[in-house]
Assembly symmetry: C2
Amino acid sequence: MKRIGACALGLATIVFGISAVAAAQRKDDLRSPIYGVKLPKGYRDWKLISVAQENGKNNDIRAILGNEIAVKAFREGKRPFPDGTIIVRLAWRYQSSYRNDAVFLAPQSFVAGPPTNIQVSVKDSKRYAATGGWGYGQFEGELPNRDPAVVQACFACHVKLEKLEHGADFVFTGYSQ
Amino acid sequence: MKRIGACALGLATIVFGISAVAAAQRKDDLRSPIYGVKLPKGYRDWKLISVAQENGKNNDIRAILGNEIAVKAFREGKRPFPDGTIIVRLAWRYQSSYRNDAVFLAPQSFVAGPPTNIQVSVKDSKRYAATGGWGYGQFEGELPNRDPAVVQACFACHVKLEKLEHGADFVFTGYSQ
């Protein structure tokens, strides 16, 4: 009995240990690589900043939402954005609406298809000092893309904008009234 | 003195009368013809339903926002929409972003230009029984378009959708996750 008891205890310890590691990993799994950015809670209820459409490899139609700090800064034209700003870019496959075209009698209507990915920019001038104060994450079906190259590509693109338009604070989007 | 007093009183009455008429007209001016739909207060803070893009005469990129009743119905797939549903379609000139294209090194980026108009659909199954339960308004720079033909065109188009897709409750937009 003692032997069985010790064995059960050992097994329980191992099971507990594995569960703890798995839980830690799951928690870690919700953050983007390099920056540790999470998909913010309730982002889908946030206010609209603007919309856009990208052809080429992206082939998407998108909406840019922001938290209260972001919306206030956009509306007041405040740059650089204050710490705590979070901008969420949602994107969906850009596709023809044959149903709408049948109503309008012209091939003119494009709508949002299935979601592609969600990109999140978080302003924290200290934590992300090396990347202009911005941390990035890309999420697919609520989970972060784990490839560090993906989030590295975020800054690689945003820094080009900074060179072209200093004062935009690395942000492509403007507020649409 | 008496004569001047009577004259001043008469003048004051006329001025007051004109002001009252003007105020009533201004109030009336904020409602669409036929349906009497107003641009709802705070609509720009409402939650996003979806986005779309129209070529042809419209040449716009658009966002569809909804009040709480609308968002709940969209998210739950509830049709017909309950009374009190308000859907606001914002649209902006669809235009190339040469700045973004310079960053991406490809002519791929389209953004929201100046606003074109805002269209509002209000569900009130009793008041708007003759038009499928929906009342319409189109607003340009916060003011309603006063041409009855414009709002008549709203229903003329939405009723075609109803024939093509009964059960959509005259609404083109679906919710984008």
